[in-house]
Symmetry: C5
Subunit: 273 residues, 5 copies
């Protein structure tokens, strides 16, 4: 990624080409090599952790969707906690890089090599520089740009550092987006599980109602045979065995019929809802 950064840094050198004759692509000074390796290692580390988290999240959510258990829930919860912590860390890095990118002066102060050079040649050129700087504006922040030497020399370097930082800022933002997609996916799955659980609950309640209906009908049957179990004497009690079977089968058939009617009625009553 970074090697391609150097070439676009050339054209703002136009002026210095005319002035100082520097035309070859500059090597990154040591302080930026150090900075780059620091940020690169941080990015690699965060990217690696994001990838590992991603690899864990999808199967964990898949398992949780297919079976809700305390174990799976606890696992997803720990993944969510890690996701929040990792997002916090990535945000911090992105915030620091963005802050640095927003403040040109802070970036200029990171050019340690150039500042050393500038300081050495400062005392000899300060008078001369003042004459050149006669009509120059001191920029809004006015901090460290009061001599022309600096302002003519610094700019391409800030460009260089800016591009270096922007490249890593884009990478960090990519990681952030991955994490936020992951977080959205977890929240999404949570909603999915909630609706699924609520729906299953209603199905269980429906099954419970069907059972209750069956229970009720059997109880009705018990009531009927209980009536014929009363010891109050009627002529039927001395009747034919066929009367016993008629009574029994009548009761059973009545129960079955009632059950079918209630199923039909329940379907017509519950389905339009």
């Amino acid at each position: 990624l970074l090697p391609s950064v150097q070439s676009p840094t050339h054209f703002p050198n136009n002026e210095s080409i005319g002035v100082a004759g520097v035309s070859a692509p500059k090597q990154l000074p040591f302080e930026f090599k150090a900075l780059e390796s620091c940020i690169e290692s941080a990015c690699t580390c965060l990217e690696y952790e994001t990838q590992r988290l991603e690899e864990e999240t999808y199967p964990a959510l898949g398992e949780l969707t297919s079976q809700i258990s305390t174990l799976n829930l606890e696992r997803v919860r720990q993944i969510k906690t890690r996701l929040v912590a990792l997002s916090g860390r990535v945000h911090k890095v992105a915030y620091q890089i963005e802050n640095l990118l927003d403040d040109d002066n802070d970036m200029a102060e990171m050019y340690l090599t150039q500042k050393l050079d500038a300081q050495l040649s400062d005392q000899t050129s300060v008078k001369e520089a003042y004459n050149e700087a006669f009509d120059e504006d001191i920029d809004k922040s006015e901090r460290s740009y009061s001599d022309t030497y600096k302002s003519y020399d610094h700019k391409p370097d800030v460009e260089e550092l800016e591009m270096l930082l922007e490249a890593y800022f884009a990478q960090i933002n990519g990681i952030l987006q991955k994490l936020s997609t992951l977080s959205e996916y977890v929240g999404n799955t949570k909603d999915y599980i909630n609706i699924m659980l609520d729906d299953k609950q209603n199905q269980l309640l429906q099954a419970s109602i069907i059972l209750n209906t069956m229970n009720f009908i059997v109880n009705l049957g018990i009531l009927v045979v209980g009536v014929f179990g009363m010891n109050i004497h009627i002529d039927l009690y001395q009747g034919q065995p066929s009367q016993f079977w008629a009574t029994t089968s009548g009761t059973v058939l009545g129960c079955v019929l009632l059950f079918l009617v209630s199923i039909w009625w329940g379907k017509r009553y519950l389905l339009p809802q």
Copy 2:
């Protein structure tokens, strides 16, 4: 859209008209034609995907609303995931265009043709330019505007590029709003389904309570006939068959009456809530 962009770019040319005599509407340079076709293709692609997603979302949500099944839920969940991913991509494009629009210098550096021309005429005009630039401010960022030629020539072009980018920025924002409306609609439907499920659950519980009441009353009836099924002898047991029927019908009538009373009581007790 874009052809109408060129005309308003003329009036900031007022000065250069007096200076350089350029008055005909400029053709877009090749780098902007390339840029425009890139952004246009990206916009078309994102718009197409948004439209396809929209076409899938509404029927899928409609089906989910009319019948909650694992299949429909899974489908809506996948649509939500795609919606989040697509929003992320559109946001990225919008963010990049906005960043470019916010930084005039970055836009100025995209004028490749002009920069080449400027560089060629640079070395001859640099002395002369300095005299003109005598009282000029070097702007806040101070990067590439140290010679008058550039600052007098660049501005209309940045206007041109700005309008080109703003047109596509508006289009991207339109896509973003469509996606956010879609996302709100999905969330809306989720709330709707949740309330619907909770309400259905209460209806099922109410049905369950009615069944329980009926069960209870039948059990009361069984208790009564069970009492007369006890083998402890009383005079009734040697009574008339009419007494059997009186007892039976009394029990049944009592049950029906109790059921009606409990329905009336339940309605009065549950309806004000």
Copy 3:
């Protein structure tokens, strides 16, 4: 509203009064009359739709609160969808006006009449203006302010346009706040309905438990009389009718007592929770 806008635009004319002798309150140029009527019509339209939505929302939510039915839910859901769409449109208008207000140059470019006048007198005054502009800064954006004529003449007009736009911006913000209050109210009602449904569910479960308890007690009674219905002979079976009534009433009284005890116990056990 707008007539009162003209008077405060005078005092920044102080300088130009001294220079150009313009002192009478200016008429709004034709381009601003056109712009004003456009924005006014948009505002009126959006305000009208907001008001109609408000008038529909409150009764619809009231009905939904008093009775949750598929019809009422569907109605509230459609109102929510319309609310989101309308908010999106109002946001778009507010965003455009805010963008315009933030960019003084874009506002300056809307002074079509003045730009025409300026262009006509431009070629004659350009030399002269340069001398005056000698020590002027070219502002940060540096676009169209390189001659004094413009910068001395434009400013009061931008003020004029700014006040016109600010007046409508305030109106649009008022509409936005109405819509956001409406949206909060809908969300509020959703939470209210959710808690109400959950609470009703618990009441139904409580009623269900009371019924179950009653059922259980009656079943106990059935068990008792079932015991005396066993055909295993004991002396009691040849006893007095009074023994039958003693047994029966004992069973019934036991049931009632048990019921009262369980109600008391349930209240003591469930109420502190």
Copy 4:
């Protein structure tokens, strides 16, 4: 609060002390006295309403937590609606003050007394001022600061107004934070009630299951005594009364044993979850 505001406004007067010899603490001009009393009355009113809302919210939420009834819910819902409306009003005031604080020009235009004075002395000093303003920058907004008199005289006053507004801005922000804490507390309580209701629901379901278990066991008992109530003759029916009591107590003991076993099993099965 405000009296302490005047003293810190002195030190930026350093320069004008040297130039104009003004050293005594200035009285606030009449326009700021008017402005101050307006904002103070608005703040007092909003603070009073916030306090009254706070005083109502905590007991209402307390009652709702201890007993969920339609009345309490409706009361909390109305409090929430008022909270949203009040927050909207406070936000509006805070937004207006912040806008004013962000725009130094708008603040400068509020110095009516000074503007009148400046206008009077304007025509005499305009030539002279121009010479002094020779090397002055016209600031970024470039609106009304083209003469030195103003820029040297206005600044301390803007400071004065800024401190006045900042004091009330802090107060308004304090009110906003109170309201947002209140809103968080309401949302917090809502979550608390939801979990409480869900937990109570589970406890009710558990009680319901225990009752169902008891019911089941009693039904088993009924089945057993029902078996001995069958009229199919066995020798036991002519047995000793002790056999009756043995059967009965065996059945009852079996039921109790089964109940204890199921309770123990249920606890072991349900507690680890």
Copy 5:
């Protein structure tokens, strides 16, 4: 932390080194020592409270997860309320420091010692300074920087104060992130508990359905033995005791068989869901 802040403040002194010969590391003036001790005490206090809150939150949430009781819920709710209040306080401090950091002028006005020195030397150097300031820009805010002495002298000090404030700003931001992680964790746990409760509810309903099924089957058995308890005479009633046992065991076996079938059917019907 702070001792390391002093060294980086040196290099912007480059210019003043050349001009004024000040090269030794400056002591912090008394006003910054006071400010530092104020902010440090505030940070320490907030950090301490955050830590105590953290130490309470994790065990409280752990207990709530393992057992949902009114006591634990109330405890977590109070922790959440304290969390919101503490976040508000930390936000306020962070906001104030950020505001100060954003406004260079406000920071410059905090250099009480230097302002006193500047005021003393002001009247002698004001003429001279004006000549030097001839081509200087007055920066965007233009408030208190009209003499060169100040602008050349102040800058390093603002740098000093900026670094002091930035160090504490970073610390405050660290506290804010801890609090927001804590808040996310609480919300996370809330979601976890909600899913857990919903899942347990479904398990209870499933247990309830199994019990209902068992109840239904026992009732069927009661119906069968009730049939044989009817007093309608059949030949079986005078049969062998073996017939009694056949009937009984047939009924019981039928019940057990039915139960096994329903369990198998329920598993096949409920598990794919």
